[in-house]
C-alpha cells in the first residue's frame, strides 16, 4: 500500500483513483524538463528556427521583393559573396575598426580601472559617471557624436575653430571618419573593459603587494608578476566580448557616417543590412550573414584556445 502511494505521488503509473495528468507532468523526473520547456520553445521560435530558415534561404536565389519562385542554387550565393570585392573591402574596414577600437578600449579601460582601484574622494560618483556611456542606447550615442562632429555648429569644430579660425570637418576624409567612429565606439565601451579589469584588480590579495613591497619590487615588476596574472583572464574575456560586438558594429556607423565618405566606413554589418533591405538580395545577404557568423565563431574558438593554453601554462 505504501509503495502504491509513493508511485501515485510521483505521478508515475496511475493509481486506483485514476490518471492525474497534472501530477504526472509535475513528477520529479519530468519537472526539470517542464521548467526549461518555455525557454527552449522561445529559443527555438526566436533563434533556432529563423537561423535554420535563413540557412535554407542562403541556398536559393530568393528576393523578398519578388513573387518569382526561388530556385535552389547550391553554393552560388556563397561563391558570389566571397568573390565580391566590395565584401572584402567591408571586411577590411571592419578589421580596422575592430582592431583599433578594441585596442583603444583596452588602453582606456585599463587606465580607468587602475585609477578607480584606489580610493579617493568622490570615487563613487565619478565611477557612476564614467559608467554612463555603456548604459546609453546606441542611437543616443550615434546622434550625440553626429552632432558633436557636425562642422558648422558641432563642439569639435567650434573648439578647433578657436585656434585655427576655420571650421574643422572631422568626417570629411575616410581616415577622419574612421577615427570618428572608433572614438565614439571606444567612448561607449571603454567603461565595460574598465569594469571587468576593476573586478580583477580588486581580487588581487593585498598580502602579495605587501610582500612585493618588502622585496622592494618596482612598479613594473609588481604589475607584471602580481597584477597582470590576476586580470589576464578577465582581460581576455573583455577582448572576446568587445571583438564580437565590434565586429557586428552597425548603429553607430549608420548614424554617424552612413558608411561614408563613399563606402570608406561601411562595416560588414552595414553591408549585410544594405544587401538584405536595400538591394533585396535576400539569399545573398543570408549567405553573407552566415560567413560573418562563421568568422565570429572562429574568433571565439581562438579565444577559448588561448584561455586553455593559459590555464595549462599555470
Amino acid at each position: 500500500m505504501a509503495a502504491t502511494d509513493t508511485t501515485a505521488e510521483r505521478g508515475g503509473a496511475p493509481a486506483a483513483r485514476g490518471f492525474n495528468p497534472v501530477a504526472w507532468a509535475l513528477a520529479p523526473e519530468r519537472r526539470g524538463g517542464l521548467l526549461v520547456a518555455p525557454a527552449i520553445i522561445t529559443l527555438f521560435v526566436m533563434n533556432i528556427f529563423p537561423l535554420m530558415w535563413s540557412l535554407g534561404l542562403s541556398f536559393f536565389n530568393y528576393r523578398a521583393n519578388r513573387l518569382t519562385v526561388p530556385d535552389f542554387v547550391w553554393f552560388r550565393n556563397f561563391e558570389r559573396v566571397l568573390t565580391d570585392d566590395d565584401v572584402w573591402e567591408r571586411f577590411q574596414t571592419t578589421a580596422i575598426v575592430v582592431g583599433s577600437s578594441v585596442a583603444l578600449q583596452l588602453v582606456i579601460g585599463f587606465a580607468l580601472a587602475l585609477l578607480f582601484a584606489k580610493s579617493f574622494p568622490g570615487r563613487r560618483i565619478l565611477l557612476m559617471l564614467v559608467l554612463t556611456p555603456m548604459m546609453l542606447s546606441f542611437v543616443a550615442v550615434g546622434v550625440f557624436f553626429k552632432l558633436f562632429y557636425e562642422p558648422t555648429f558641432g563642439l569639435v569644430s567650434q573648439a578647433v575653430a578657436i585656434f585655427t579660425g576655420e571650421p574643422f570637418v572631422v568626417l570629411s576624409t575616410p581616415t577622419g571618419a574612421l577615427i570618428g567612429i572608433i572614438v565614439a565606439d571606444a567612448w561607449m565601451w571603454s567603461p565595460f573593459v574598465m569594469l571587468l579589469v576593476l573586478a580583477g584588480l580588486v581580487s588581487v590579495p593585498k598580502y602579495l603587494y605587501e610582500a612585493a613591497e618588502i622585496d622592494r619590487a618596482n612598479w613594473w615588476r609588481r604589475f607584471r608578476t602580481i597584477t597582470f596574472p590576476y586580470i589576464k583572464g578577465l582581460l581576455l574575456l573583455a577582448v572576446l566580448f568587445r571583438t564580437i560586438e565590434t565586429f557586428k558594429l552597425f548603429d553607430i556607423v549608420y548614424l554617424i557616417t552612413q558608411g561614408g565618405p563613399g563606402s570608406s566606413t561601411e562595416t560588414i554589418a552595414v553591408y549585410v543590412y544594405r544587401m538584405a533591405f536595400q538591394y533585396f538580395r535576400t539569399s545573398q545577404a543570408s549567405a553573407l550573414a552566415y560567413i560573418v557568423l562563421f568568422v565570429v565563431i572562429v574568433l571565439t574558438s581562438l579565444y577559448l584556445y588561448a584561455v586553455r593554453r593559459t590555464s595549462e601554462a599555470r
Binding site: 523578398a64 521583393n65 513573387l67 571650421p167 568626417l171 576624409t173 561614408g260
Partner: protein
C-alpha cells in the same frame, strides 16, 4: 383598429422611410483602414481631418488609423512589414520609386479596373496634374512627356497623391532686398541681388553661384544691416549620402544640361553605359560639384541632407537654399525659425539655354498613397471612398490652407491657392518641370550604389567622370542581370 394591423402599418412605414433614405447596410460594420505613413505635418493633417470630418458614404463605421513612422526608418518599416507577410496595412503612403519593388512583390493593388468602373475616380484622375499621375500612379512607368490624359490605354494606375512636393528656393529677404548688399553685389557682378519672386525668375546657376561667393562671411563681418555672429554661407542644396539626398539635385543638373539617367521607358534597348556617363552628364555633374565650396561645410562629410540644410536655414546660417516645400512649414514658426519674419520663396534656379530661357527640370518629390492586395472587397470599396473624400475639392482646399499641397489642377488654379502659403506659387509653377527617377524593383540597388559614388565625388575622393563611369558600369550590369537591358 386592431393592434395587429397597427403594428403592420408601422413596420411598413418604417420600411418605406428606410427605402427612401437610400441604400444602407443591414448592419453597419466597424472597419479600420490601417495606413502606414511618414510622421510629418501632411499625414498628421490627414489623420486629424479624417477624425474630424470623414463619414463613410456606405454607412459603415470607417476609421482611418495611421501608423506614423519617423522618416529615417520609414522605408525599412514598410519593407519589413510588407515582405514579412504580416498584412497589417490596408493603405500605405509610399515613395513613387518603391512602386516597382512592391508591385512586383505583389503588395500594391492595381487600381486600373476599379478606376475605370467609377466616374468619381475617373474625374479625379483627369483633374490631377499629369506629372503626378506619371510619377505616382503609373507602373510600368510612363514618363510625363509620353503620358496621355486619363485614360491612357497603356497605363496601369496604382496610386493617388497624398502630398505632392517640389524643391524651391528659400531665401532671406532681409539680405537679398538690402540696398547696401544689393549695391555691393551689383558693383561686383553687374546686376542687383534678386529680391522679388519675379527677380528670382531670372536666376540661373551662374547667378546662384555668384550669390554663394558673395554671401560667404566670417564672424564679425558686415551682413545686411548688422554683423555675422558666426560663419555665414551663401547657398546650400542637397549633397548627402543617405537615401536619395544628392541624386535628387544632381538629376536636375543632368536633365537641364540635356543629359539623361537610365530611362526605364526605353527598356530593353536603352543602355546605361554611354548615357549615364555621357560627356554632357559629366559636365552637369561637374557644375553641381563646383558650387559646393560656397556651402556650409557639412557637404564635406556627405551629411548635407534635406534636414541638415533645413536646419542650417532655420538657424540663419545660409542666405538661400534649395529644399522641398514639404519641409518649409517650420520656417514660418518663430519657435523653430530665426528667420520666420524675413523668408521668401521662389522657383529653384535652372540652366540658361542658348535662347536665353532657363531649363528647370527637377526631380519630383512627395508621395502617393496606395491600396494593398490583401484587402477584402468591402475594404477596397471603403478605401476608394476614402480616396474620393481625400481628393475632393473641399478637403484638398483645407489641406492646402493648412500647409499641404494639392495635386488637383482645379484646386491649384483657385485664386486663393497661392495665398495659402508663401511657397505655393513657386511649387505650382515648378510642377510642369518635374520628372521622376526609376520605379523598377532594382531601384534601391541602383540608388544606393549611385549615392555612394556621388558621395565619393562630393567628398573629393574621385572626380565626376570616375563617379559616373562607376555608376554606369554598375547599372549596366544590374539591369542586364534583371533583363532590363539587352
Amino acid at each position: 383598429m386592431p393592434t395587429r394591423t397597427l403594428a403592420l402599418l408601422g413596420t411598413a412605414s418604417a420600411l418605406a422611410i428606410a427605402a427612401l433614405a437610400g441604400p444602407a447596410p443591414a448592419v453597419a460594420e466597424d472597419i479600420v483602414l490601417n495606413m502606414a505613413a511618414p510622421d510629418w505635418p501632411p499625414t498628421r493633417f490627414m489623420q486629424e481631418e479624417a477624425d474630424r470630418s470623414y463619414t463613410a458614404p456606405s454607412g459603415n463605421n470607417v476609421r482611418l488609423q495611421i501608423d506614423f513612422i519617423p522618416w529615417p526608418s520609414f522605408y525599412e518599416r514598410v519593407a519589413a512589414s510588407l515582405t514579412s507577410g504580416e498584412q497589417k496595412y490596408q493603405m500605405l503612403v509610399t515613395d513613387s520609386q518603391w512602386l516597382g519593388s512592391f508591385i512586383e512583390g505583389g503588395y500594391y493593388m492595381d487600381l486600373t479596373g476599379l478606376i475605370a468602373e467609377d466616374e468619381e475616380l475617373q474625374a479625379i484622375m483627369q483633374d490631377l496634374h499629369p506629372a503626378l499621375v506619371s510619377a505616382y500612379s503609373t507602373y510600368p512607368h510612363i514618363p510625363v512627356t509620353e503620358l496621355q490624359e486619363y485614360p491612357d490605354p497603356n497605363a496601369n494606375y496604382y496610386g493617388f497623391p497624398q502630398m505632392p512636393d517640389t524643391y524651391v528656393t528659400w531665401y532671406r529677404e532681409d539680405l537679398f532686398c538690402n540696398e547696401t548688399e544689393s549695391a555691393d553685389f551689383e558693383a561686383e557682378y553687374g546686376a542687383p541681388l534678386p529680391c522679388t519672386y519675379e527677380d528670382w525668375e531670372d536666376v540661373d546657376w551662374e547667378r546662384f553661384d555668384q550669390i554663394g561667393t558673395f554671401f560667404r562671411r566670417s564672424a564679425g563681418d558686415a551682413l545686411g544691416d548688422g554683423t555675422a555672429d558666426d560663419e555665414f554661407y551663401g547657398i546650400a542644396y542637397q549633397a548627402g549620402k543617405g537615401y536619395d539626398f544628392s541624386t535628387m539635385q544632381i538629376n536636375a543638373f543632368i536633365w537641364q544640361y540635356g543629359g539623361s539617367i537610365w530611362d526605364e521607358s526605353t527598356e530593353p534597348e536603352g543602355q546605361a553605359e554611354g548615357v549615364v556617363n555621357s560627356d554632357v552628364a559629366v559636365e552637369a555633374f561637374e557644375h553641381y560639384l563646383s558650387m559646393l565650396e560656397h556651402m556650409p561645410p557639412a557637404w564635406q562629410t556627405g551629411q548635407m541632407d534635406i534636414f541638415q540644410i533645413q536646419e542650417l536655414y532655420l538657424q540663419g546660417k545660409v542666405a538661400a537654399i534649395i529644399n522641398w516645400v514639404g519641409l518649409a512649414e517650420p520656417v514660418l514658426d518663430p519657435e523653430t525659425s530665426t528667420v520666420s519674419e524675413v523668408s521668401a520663396f521662389a522657383r529653384a534656379p535652372g540652366l540658361r539655354q542658348e535662347d536665353g530661357s532657363i531649363s528647370r527640370w527637377a526631380n519630383i518629390g512627395g508621395q502617393p498613397f496606395v491600396l494593398t492586395t490583401w484587402n477584402s472587397d468591402t475594404v477596397v470599396r471603403e478605401a476608394l471612398d476614402f480616396v474620393k473624400w481625400w481628393e475632393s475639392e473641399e478637403v484638398q482646399k483645407k489641406f492646402a490652407a493648412n500647409g499641404g499641397q494639392s495635386g488637383l489642377r482645379s484646386v491649384m488654379e483657385l485664386p486663393e491657392y497661392n495665398d495659402y502659403r508663401p511657397w505655393n506659387r513657386a511649387h505650382v509653377e515648378s510642377l510642369d518641370w518635374q520628372k521622376d527617377v526609376w520605379h523598377i524593383p532594382e531601384f534601391f540597388e541602383l540608388l544606393t550604389q549611385q549615392q555612394e559614388e556621388f558621395d565619393k565625388a562630393i567628398t573629393g575622393q574621385i572626380d565626376a567622370r570616375e563617379a559616373l563611369d562607376e555608376v554606369a558600369e554598375f547599372q549596366q550590369e544590374v539591369l542586364e542581370d534583371a533583363g532590363r537591358i539587352e
